[in-house]
Structure formats: structure tokens, C-alpha cells
Symmetry: D2
């Protein structure tokens, strides 16, 4: 308990835990100087624990803090019974109870804010969004891709085009708001390709925003680059080490730009998503497709390897 009183201790007894590090739960105890939370509040916490005092944080660019702590990596993680988080990283989701019906379901919804935040940060906070009516293409319909699809639809894209190999994820992509979903493998069998589909669907103009969520840029980036509209944006969310061949002259010819995006914090991102979910505008809980009790957590982790389905939760 420090003099700034930032710590709060969410209770994990009712906490659903998304594989990895996202979570939501009920506050079990609070530090002496905590001002904005009380015991019993439903909360979720950001995973990126920025310091608030380095030169980068002072610019408000919290995702790139020079002294970043990460919940579940450098501190006690999300599978622990209790976790202490500074107040400044915690968000109130009491409003979820009414819309999702039960505390359990509210916590499930709270636990998917973080992956939604990664997409929100990439599409809107970092890249500045798109004009309503634009065409948006999402490559890959894992959790981040699904969130990108839902958000592109929510923010007024006139066409949301998705590419995804897994049939179960294709179905989820449609449920989250994709107008059309294609398998690159199926397209190849038909002698066509993602970029050709995008050009066909846009009268040859190309798409205004491309969101890379596969982590396979060597395959995807050439497709994106052949389907860039004038003044389009590429948002790189998928992670991959090493280099990717990029045709820079295409960005020049089309006057386009590419954004690297990482993280989910700052800009009010969690706050906006909480408002969208509290008002029923956005239901990201739909992307949870499997739930495991803590004793079967290893099984949950294994289930991720096949790149099928949506978000997998471990519930404590």
C-alpha cells in the first residue's frame, strides 16, 4: 500500500481468465488511498502497466512506456488467486451486469476488452480510423481479427471483407460483422487471390484500410499492397519477427501509409469499449467459444494451437 494508494486487489473467486493475461473480476480489497473503486466493484485491468513518468508516458503514448510492466509477465499473473493492480490501470465494468445479465457473464465480457482494445488501438487511436462508407479488409479472424471486424462494422465501413482459412473462424467472422469471408486457399484453387477479390469488390479502386492480423506478413503483405486504394492505410497488428519484403513504390503511387500498432492502453480505449459494450452497441463476448475450469488450463492452452475458434477462457 503506497502513499499514492494506487493498489487495488480484485477478487479472483469469480474471475474468468482469458488464456494469457486478460481478465476481469471483483474487487476484494483496496489500498488506503484508492479513490475511484470500492470492494465489490466489477473491474478489468489493462495488461500494460506504464510508469507514467518517462518521457514517452508524459507524451501520453503509454503503449510505448520505457519502463513497462506487464501483468502476468513481470508481475504476478492472471492465474493467481489475487492480483494487485494500480488504480490507474483498472476500469470499472459494473455497468456490464445489467446488459449481460449475470456477474459471470459480465466478467466474461470484461475479459475480452483487452483483445478488443488491441484492435481499437490499431484501427482508431493509432491509424486515425476511416471515413464512414470506406471499404475495410481484415486478414485473419483470430481474436484480434474478429475484434477488428466488429469494430470496422461498428464504425461505419460500407464493406467489411475478411480472409480466413479456418471454417469455424469464418463463421465467427460473419457473426461479428464481415459482409463476405473468403479462404485464401479456396481462392487459389479457383485461380484467384485475395487482392483480386478486393479489386473486384471495389470496382478496381482497392480498399481504404487493410488490417493485418495473421502474423504472416510475408504471405499477406503482397496481397495488401496489390489492393491499396489511393490514400489507404495498412494497419499491422499481427506479430512476426524478421523482415517482410515490401514494395515501397506502391505506397508512393497510391499515396498510402502503413501503421505499426501495439498495445491497448491510452487514448481512452478501454473507456470507449466499455461504453460500447454497456450500451449494447458491441457484444464482443460472442467471440468466446470455449471455457475451461482452472484445473484444465493446460488443455485450454493446447486448444489454441490449432488456430480454430475464437477466444478461449479459463474460469476460476
Amino acid at each position: 500500500m503506497d502513499e499514492d494508494g494506487y493498489q487495488i486487489y480484485p477478487s479472483w473467486t469469480k474471475r474468468p481468465v482469458v488464456i494469457g493475461h486478460e481478465f476481469a473480476g471483483k474487487v476484494a480489497a483496496i489500498g488506503a488511498q484508492v479513490t475511484d473503486f470500492k470492494v465489490g466493484d466489477l473491474v478489468t485491468a489493462e495488461q500494460l502497466h506504464w510508469c507514467g513518468k518517462c518521457a514517452i508516458c508524459r507524451k501520453g503514448l503509454y503503449n510505448h512506456c520505457r519502463n513497462m510492466g506487464r501483468l502476468g509477465f513481470v508481475t504476478n499473473g492472471a492465474f493467481a488467486q489475487y492480483v494487485a493492480v494500480k488504480e490507474k490501470h483498472v476500469w470499472n465494468i459494473n455497468g456490464f451486469k445489467e446488459i449481460f445479465g449475470s456477474e459471470d457473464d459480465a466478467c466474461e465480457a470484461g475479459a475480452v476488452i483487452e483483445p478488443t482494445g488491441i484492435a481499437y488501438n490499431g484501427l482508431f487511436s493509432r491509424s486515425g480510423g476511416f471515413m464512414p462508407g470506406a471499404t475495410v479488409v481484415i486478414y485473419g479472424a483470430g481474436p484480434i481479427g474478429l475484434a477488428s471486424i466488429a469494430l470496422a462494422r461498428l464504425a461505419g465501413a460500407s464493406q467489411v471483407i475478411a480472409f480466413e482459412l479456418s471454417p469455424s473462424r469464418q463463421t465467427l467472422a460473419r457473426e461479428m460483422g464481415a459482409d463476405v469471408v473468403y479462404s485464401p486457399e479456396e481462392l487459389a484453387k479457383q485461380g484467384t487471390s485475395p487482392h483480386q477479390v478486393v479489386l473486384d469488390l471495389t470496382a478496381g479502386y482497392g480498399a481504404d484500410m487493410h488490417v493485418e492480423c495473421t502474423g504472416l506478413p510475408k504471405v499477406i503483405l503482397p496481397e495488401i499492397e496489390q489492393a491499396l486504394a489511393v490514400n489507404s492505410k495498412v494497419v499491422n497488428l499481427g506479430r512476426r519477427a524478421g523482415t517482410t519484403p515490401s514494395t515501397l513504390s506502391i505506397y508512393q503511387d497510391t499515396g498510402s501509409q502503413s501503421f505499426g500498432s501495439l498495445g491497448h492502453t491510452g487514448y481512452g480505449t478501454f473507456g470507449y469499449i466499455i461504453k460500447l459494450m454497456s450500451t449494447g452497441r458491441l457484444n464482443m463476448r460472442k467471440m468466446i467459444t470455449a471455457r475451461f475450469p482452472l484445473e484444465r488450463a493446460a488443455e485450454a492452452v493446447t486448444s489454441l494451437a490449432n488456430r480454430e475458434g475464437g477466444k478461449v477462457m479459463v474460469k476460476i
Copy 2:
């Protein structure tokens, strides 16, 4: 017919005409060098006829062209049997036939792009839009206000709050996407006010975007200024001569900004709206509440005076 071949001559035989100057119809003839249209195309035209060569047009700020021509004002207007418009001001709406069912209905839809464009220009092109999840307040639910409501909802506002006196327009506001609609008169009777309602609905934070569509800023601006969120935007669309008292220190205290907006051209505004209407995302035709034949045009004009209902059309 000039060597640039810009003129096209839409046929007005099947043309619905919105009171004033917006219209849509079928192309009856084209100039020798017209490249992008053919006889029989369904089209609408922008009303602001920018020159394309002044210093302002060269910046792409067409709404503020120094040599602006206005259809129906300085040239032959929208009630004439044929109108000649340069190709660069005309937009193809052939795609409306499928979604709206008939050429007549397609033309009706085409004729409301212009007022929708005024709202789109104000909210997005000029003011840069809002973050998905933001709270947007629309003051006045005439045609421009109704379009603002529909667009705010479409672009992902989590709350769309409207204020409007007329019961018929209140109903339309709800149909176009407002979550709640209040009459300032009714609020006054209850001892409250628009700004108090906005503060109540936003936990005291205020709204992120305020769109003035009444043309009565002396009444409305003080309400807006008492309900500004930090970093909020005021978009002034309603027209009114003279001065309005403004409390500048509130914009400073909240770090807010105010945008004057006028016009509907440039930025691809018509193009985006056509895509939104062609894909079924946006149905602005719903705001047409009265239709008059040409011989009863005077009656149509009269019907506007009471500030009731939505868009009034004269059909030829």
C-alpha cells in the same frame, strides 16, 4: 458542349426534386467528351459548382471555391425540365435501383444525398469525426439534423442524444437512430435543460461531439457550452446571421474546439454516402415525409414553414 466535354444533361422526366435544389434523375444527353456517364444512367449532382482552378480549389477545399456556381441559384435550377451539369459535379447512382427497388425510389434516395452530405461534411470531413463509443448530441431534427443522427449512429457513437421541439420530427429522430430524444420545452417545464440532460447521461463528463442544426445558436450554444467534454467538438451546421454570445473560457477549460461547416462537396463525400446507401447500411430515403407533384410545388414550399416532418419532395 465544350472541348472538355464536361456537360451532361440529365432527363427530368422521371426526376424527383427535393424542395430547393437537390435532385436526381436520368441522363438524357451527354456532351461529346463526357467519359464517365452515358445516356440512361441514374445520377445526382452536387449543388455547389466549384471552378477547379482558384487557389482554394487547388487545395481541394471545394466547398469554399472563390468562383462558386450554384445549381438552382445562378444557373438554371432544379425545377427546370432539363439541367446541364458538368461531369465533375455528377455522381452515378445506378446501384440504387437494386437496393431501392425502382428507378423512382432510387431517384428519391439520390435526391437526399445532398442534405446527407452537408451532415457528413460537417461531422467527418471537416471536424474529423469522433472516436467509436463517443457520445454525440444533435440539436434540431430537420433534414440536416436527421442526417446527422443517422450518421452519428452509423459511425459508432455509443449514445446519440437529440433535442427537437416537433413531435413528428422527434419520431423521425428515433427512427434515424437517436437513442433518446427530448423536447427542450418539456425539459424546461420539468425544471431542467438540455445541458443538464447531457451531463446526467454522461456521468458528468459531457458529450464528445455537439452538432448544432437548429439555426438558433443564441438558444443552443449556451446549452452546448455547458455540456462540453474534455477535448470535445462543436460542429455548427445551422445557419444564422449576426453574432452569438460564446463563453470562450469553457473551450479553454475543456480543451475543446468549434468547427464552422458549410457545403457537401469534396473529400469524396457523395461517393461515401452512395456506397453506404448502395450497400444498405444507410437509408436516408426514410426521411422523406411528403411528396408533391410539380403543379403543387407552391404547396410543398408552404409545408416547410411549420418545421414539421422530414424532407419534402416535388416530383416531376
Copy 3:
């Protein structure tokens, strides 16, 4: 001393103090967990002490923190012998010693970062700056106006036009980079006015950015509004209670915007100014025109009343 170790205690023995609250000095002691400063560092501190945990700070909009502390207002102020400031509000200015020659002069320079930051925040962080080659008009050449002039010149305005009544401040305005400086009173005697001068100097187009630093918007805003270029920006820095009549239709006709701006923190503002002053690009110390010892502080305060000269310092 808290567990976060944020406090640092600058020594005021060599500290020049600008009237009010800005200051610079040498660190006399540091908290146990301070990581980025050491005893003997030359530093200055921001005056706005944001909490870092409210919803507004989490967006990075520190100037509008909901729990703002202010040095010299709610905590021990700038005339005290020692002041304790959290590390996150403090900036290192060791680099000033080389460029300004002595510790004393370095501290003087450090003490004028804050007013420069108010101008920087208004012109660049809040309003997004102007295109190089733009015409910028500054109304009022007190400390904030002088900083605005210097920054407008620095950032590539092709014309910097200033209006100021006081002859001593007119001279300072020219020294800080104004191309031309006019007295509104003299213009009135000649039968002309500020807006007419701006229109004359811009071939009738008006100016791209207008910075209000007089705190007399009832007089100045009408001048600004008659000289708005298309797509121009008005930056309101001067403070004044009450309402100001504003002609909203002009902002519509010209597609212009108005920004309320307050504060100097966030966005890396202090950091950028420190780099500009360390590299010799910007010398804001030139605007210090009077220095008083602490025992004559009352005299210093009195000297401000006549609105003559630049920045007045009290040195301890």
C-alpha cells in the same frame, strides 16, 4: 518520500523565479526511488500537477486532469525556499549551461519554458500547427504573445503579423520574430483596423492562424473573424470570463475552426522546447526585461500592472 519515489527537491538558493509560479533551479535532494534525477541537476518543473490516474489523464490530456494540483496555488509555491515536486513533472535542463553560459542564465532560460509552453501547446499540440509558408497573426505581445511570435517564426510562417499597444512590447515583438507590428490605436487614427491590415497583407485571402493573447476577445475576436482565410484556425490563449459575441456564419463560410487552449503540459511540450533552446534554435530568455531580488518581489508584481515589457523575474 513515497514508495514510487516521485519527489525531488530543487534547491532554491540559485533559483530565479518568474512572477507567479514558473521557476527553475538546482536539485537539493531526491526521494529514495527517484530514478531520473540526481542532486545538482539543473531542472525546471511544470506548474500543472496532473494526477495520472483519472479518465482524462489516461487519455493523455493532462492539461485537463480532473484532480489537478497547481504549484504555487494549492501546494507550496515558487517563492518558498524549497519546493517538492514529483519526478514526473520535472525536466532536466543541464544542457542549458553550455548554451547560456552560466547556471544563473540557464535557470533564467529554464524559468521561461512554462509561458513558452502555453504558446507551444496552443499553436501546435492543441491546434495542430500551420503549414510552412502560412500567415500567422498574434494579437497581444505580453509573454504568451511574445512566445507565440517566436514559435510562429520558428515553425516556418512566411508572415508573422503582430498587434500590440505598448511601444516596449512592440519592440520585443520585432526582436522575437514578428515581421510587422501595429498598434490598433494608431491604425484607428489612420482610419483603418487590424483586420484591414491583415487582408491587405494577404491579398485579401486573410490569415491562416490567429492567436488571441490579449484576454480582450470582445475587441479582438471581431477583428479576427473579419480576416479569416479559408480553413483557418483561431487559437484562444488569452483568458477572460463572460461571453464574447462571435459571428458563427463566418467560420462556416470560410470552413474555419476555433480552439480553446489552456496549459503547457503533456505532448512532450517541455521536452521539445528544451531541445529548441539547447540547440540555440530558440532563445526565449530574450523576453526577460526585468529582474528583482526576492526582497523587492512586491515591486516586481506591481510592475506587471502596466502591461509593459516582457517577463519579470524575481531572483532568490
Copy 4:
């Protein structure tokens, strides 16, 4: 001569012609409906002749017009005795006579607006510029690189760092405003590299903007990517076919973006540069290092091959 009267015919008798296509001269004749020019005006013309009616031009993104004409490529070029250009592509530079002293020198200055415009478009119109005080790095000091250096300095960079192999261009880079200029070859001999120099000069933070002007991105991009500051911008101006390996994860880790830029038209770019040169703020004529009469034009072209010196002019 068309009914829109757009054509103007500059006289080439006094016209200096930059190798390739940029030029300036005196108007010899005008079309019947030309409104903004008269015989005898000193003018320069943009080289990119956008149509003004395609979907891209209607967005104001003229550099990417779908029907682009290019002076000197698809129409009569810059070495012809007379050239006809539509009024909308021509800019008045009468104001250069006073500042540059003679018509000849004014035309020389006019002829370097185009390459300056390519840099201006990349740094400001396309990429949104940098905060005053930022660190800007220019790779390559040919004409576009030299213009980028001058503009970065003009717009308030606190550090302008240049990399260039040619000694003559290194000298020009310093004259145009670079604070430091390094030869990558010399750095390699010393066991260091461009990115290490940038990190050293920025206390490890990296540079805020990187401008690629060499056309050798395979060599330069890896250097840039190792010296990206958080939230930095890469502006690709140099042209090169084929792919370049890019480490996308670095843009994610630093929250950075990359802009493809091409062209010089739109956004008022020529207008801003003309104002900067007319007011003496910017003297791009300094980068002209060789002048040939028309009969030695072949020699002029040859002189470009060695990548030495600045701009080469052919004078008629």
C-alpha cells in the same frame, strides 16, 4: 483555346529550364477565357496535370489523378519553345523579381519550386509534418534531399541530420541547413553506421522523422528502422522498383508509421513555397550548381549521372 479558357502560353525566350520538366518563364499569350494571368506575367507550372473530374481529383488528391497528364512526357515538353498549360496548373511568381533581383534569377528560382514541392508534399502535406523541436534525418542530398533539409530546418526541427556520399552535396547539405552531415562510407570505416549516429545524437531515443531520398531503400531502410523514435514517421520519397525488406515489428514496438509520397501538386503546396521564397524565408535557388545553354543540353543530362552537385539547369 477552349470555352473554359484554361490554356496559357508562357514565352520561353527567357525561360530557364531545369533538366527534365520543371521550368519557369514569361507568359507569351493567353486563352480567351483565362482570368488569372496576363501576358508578361512570370510563371511556373506544375508538371502533374490532373484532370479535376475523376473520383480521386474530387477528393482533392490530385497527385494520384486517374487521368494524369505529364508535361514533358505525354504533352509537349519543357525544351520546346512554347508550352501550353491549363491555367489551373500555373502559378504566378511575379513577386520573385523583387527578391531575386532580375527576371532571369526569378525564373531560376521558379524552376526549382517543383523539386521543392516534392519534398514539401512528402514532409508536410502527406505526412503531417513534425513537432517543432523534433529531430529530422535526411538520407541523400540530391535536389529532393536538399529541399527536404531546407524545409526541415525552416519548419523548426531542432536537429537536422543528413547522410550523403558526395562531398559536393555534403557541402550543399550544410548550406541548406543540415546541422551535421555524414558519409555512410566514412562511418563504416570508423566502425559505426547511420543508425548508430542518430541514436547517439538523440540520447538513444531515435529520430522523429526520417526522409528517404536516395532511392536505395535496401541500404537505407534498415538504418532508418534501427533509429525510429516512438511515434516517428518515415517518409519515402526516393523511387525504386522491386521489394525492400522491412522489419514490421519495429514499427509496432515504436508505434511508428511509414508514408509513401509522390508528386508536388494539391494542398496549396506551390502557393506556400512561393510565399516562402517571396518573403525571403527560403532560398532554394542556392541549390542550382550548374547552368547550360540549350545547345549543350546533352552535356547537362550527362552531368547528372555522377550524382554530384545540386540542380542542373538548361537555359534557353
